[in-house]
Amino acid sequence: MPMIELESVSKRYATGIQALNDVTLSVEDGEFVFVVGPTGTGKSTLLRLLYAEELPTSGVVRVHGRPVDARHDHDVSALRRSLGVVFQDFKLLPDRTVFDNVAFALRVIGSPPEWIPAQVRQALEQVGLADCERALPRQLSGGQQQKVSIARAIVNRPRIVLADEPTGNLDPDTSWDIMKVLSRINLHGTTLIVTTHNKTIVDVLRRRVVELAGGQIVRDERRGRYASDLN
């Protein structure tokens, strides 16, 4: 059973912009998928549909084999607890420590307080920030902040992590550092979908590449490059 499925999914915003047009995609458990394409081709919309931030205009989105149903608040919450999401702008709470930012993800889903410290420390160790738990986000570099964001995404041990341009704000060396962290997470069996404009990373890692253009999938290669070999 695929971990993620989109069946003839289209998304038109109220502004009239057609972000996705009849997209069909299937992602297996444990896969690492890069979604590439120029700005405005629907990459972020695709991810937003997966964590039910947006609803499709038509078609069906399935995660963990179940259709994404955003009609009920509890279904949306349950879906998001089974996913980790990483953003280009980190989305950290600036007035909380690294520990509290990561723990926040557990606290808001009602995790027993006695479990939280161990899980947070384990997540921080996984991203290599074990010694920064008392720091505030502004005391960290961009790369470290993104690692905190990744730790928050994986602290609940989700089977899927979605990363929207995770290296978009980072220099090349730091971008590699972040991709190593994400690759390690994928090695543990977590399904990973990463939207990116970073040609070098995609070309070196040679993972599955899905290319979007004009809201449609124009290429889907098992071990692809950033640009099509035909280009």
């Binding site: 608040d73 709470l93 808001v108 995790s111």
Partner: protein, 306 residues
């Protein structure tokens, strides 16, 4: 002890409520400047609302006192003896619509005059003899009956003159009704303004915290879970502002009543101890309710899926 599932649910609820209380209180302290601005705004609004209630209470008292003053005074001819005065009083009591008749001697009338002047003027220093006549105070059962009563009293032997102030009585009656209505409307409008101002203030604080809400939602918090800490924070803001408004208004009003009645003894202001409980209840209820509901409404717009 219930089954394990029930215990787990109770535990989860307790954890969630503890989180809401802790987060609400922490956010209130953490967003220091924003919290202070919100509390100040709510405080000023509640102060105006509370002052309106105090004014309304005093207007109500003035209106009630004015209605009590609706009476006819029958001035008696000089030289009536006790038996004649008793007969006259009995005849007045027999007039339709009369509730009570009370004899006021000229000595008592003089004493009342001196009292109404604050005891600072001795009338006898100004005029040697008491110039006031004996009189009968006639209270009607209904203020509207006064003109007919006055007419009938004028015809009673031994009555020199009757002052009923029929026109003034009518005006007092209308004014009392107007004051009550206008005061009620003004208080209602102020309450509405208070609610709108508080809602807008809270909306601004929530807008400033939309990242928190977004993150909470993204990591899987339910809408009700997201709302709760803001609900607590809103109640703290409303409650603190209401309490500050009650204390400030209570102290200011007590000072005002004390000074005003010392300077103008004829003023019949509602004492602070009598007026403030109503104000305190109104302000605390409005502060807590609007604080809690305001945040819940403002947060709701960030919880919608598109």
């Amino acid at each position: 002890m219930g089954p394990p599932q029930t215990r787990r649910r109770w535990h989860a609820t307790a954890v969630s409520l503890a989180f809401a209380a802790r987060e609400g209180a922490t956010s209130f302290c953490r967003n220091g400047l924003m919290s202070v601005a919100a509390v100040l705004m709510i405080f000023v609004t509640l102060l105006a609302f509370g002052a309106a209630i105090l004014v309304l209470q005093n207007l109500h008292r003035v209106a009630a006192a004015a209605e009590e003053q609706v009476l006819a005074v029958a001035y008696l001819r000089d030289g009536l003896n006790t038996r004649q005065r008793t007969n006259l009083a009995n005849r007045l009591r027999g007039v339709d619509g009369v509730a009570t008749v009370r004899f006021v001697s000229r000595a008592e009338a003089l004493r009342r005059l001196e009292q109404s002047l604050g005891g600072r003027v001795n009338v006898r220093d100004v005029v040697r003899a008491n110039p006031l006549p004996d009189s009968m105070e006639i209270h009607p059962e209904r203020p509207g009956d006064l003109p007919a009563i006055a007419e009938a009293a004028r015809a009673v032997a031994g009555v020199a003159d009757v002052v009923a102030g029929e026109e003034i009585t009518g005006r007092i009656d209308a004014a009392a009704r107007f004051v009550r209505l206008a005061g009620g409307v003004a208080a209602a409008v102020l309450a509405l303004v208070a609610i709108i101002v508080i809602l807008n203030t809270l909306r601004l604080t929530i807008v400033a915290r939309r990242t928190d809400i977004e993150i909470m939602r993204l990591v899987g918090a339910t809408a009700s879970f997201v709302r709760r800490p803001f609900f607590v924070e809103g109640m703290i803001q409303g409650g603190v502002a209401a309490m500050a408004a009650v204390v400030s208004l209570g102290a200011a009003y007590w000072l005002f009543v004390t000074r005003a009645t010392a300077a103008w003894p004829f003023l019949r202001l509602v004492p602070a101890a009598e007026a403030m409980p109503v104000v305190a209840i109104a302000l605390v209820v409005v502060g807590l309710a609007v604080g809690a509901l305001g945040t819940a409404i403002s947060v709701a717009r960030f919880l919608r899926t598109r």
